[in-house]
Symmetry: C2
Subunit: 175 residues, 2 copies
Amino acid sequence: MAIQVFNSMDYEEFINKFGNVIEKCPLIAAAVWTNHPFTSLGALEKMFEDFIDLLPPSGQEGILRCHIDLAGRDLLKGTLSSESQAEQNQAGLTDLTLDQRSQIRELNASYKNKFHFPFVICARMNNKDTIFRQISIRIHNSPEHELKIGIAEVKKICHLRLLDIFKQVSHNSKF
Amino acid sequence: MAIQVFNSMDYEEFINKFGNVIEKCPLIAAAVWTNHPFTSLGALEKMFEDFIDLLPPSGQEGILRCHIDLAGRDLLKGTLSSESQAEQNQAGLTDLTLDQRSQIRELNASYKNKFHFPFVICARMNNKDTIFRQISIRIHNSPEHELKIGIAEVKKICHLRLLDIFKQVSHNSKF
């Protein structure tokens, strides 16, 4: 069982494995480890969510600010985290026309100018079209509402990254 | 004035500059940015400290766990953060005998085995001898007390890293 493999990890192994399920926030995985052993993958996921929910608004904004602009220069340069790179690739964001690239650059800039954190969306649950639509809609939200939506998207990203690790470990432990 | 330079930074520039004043925790710098403008370097430093103090114990343990073992393999391989590398170098930790290296490896392991986070000390306020002495003494503390001491050391490291950035920016803004 993958959960037994996770429960047997010391904190260093755990951070190596889970350190980026919340983008660039190994602190959160390192804090979650305190609560091991976990009864299930769902219980482990809930620990990540609970930790995020208990942060003050500035801390939640901080989590969003650790994300790089969607479809930005780092995607083209290949300098994103490997998880982000794969996710944005899958959503078709490496395959934009010049016009679309300039459009998303302007939308990202307007969004950040209003909210002071970047637009975060679970790319794997979306595609080019829904991402463009969502940023165009969400930019009209209030900052408080948008912080809630951004954090909900962070949790979806976390969910899928946890599932990936779970599948990988389940597969390996069969051999 | 350096503080004016910091206050004029957007969150991306701020994270680039301050993202590692708490080792591997850009989330904290990203959260602190919310409270800009800062009236002074002292006020900025207090924001880092306040954020840390408001975290639950698991979050504070998480901060400690984002630190790599002092004088460990990563120091020799040169794969530490540039700040840690310079700090440990300055404390003479790159210059240990084989015996001292094996001694610190054992002390680190015993410490982590007891506390489930690594031994953290402000290397620049110490030297080889005081570091060996401190770990030998601190290993007898209670986990609660040792968490407090570890976090106090994180704040000293943060203080010196902030001063470095401040000096660097003050120097550059003269030209």
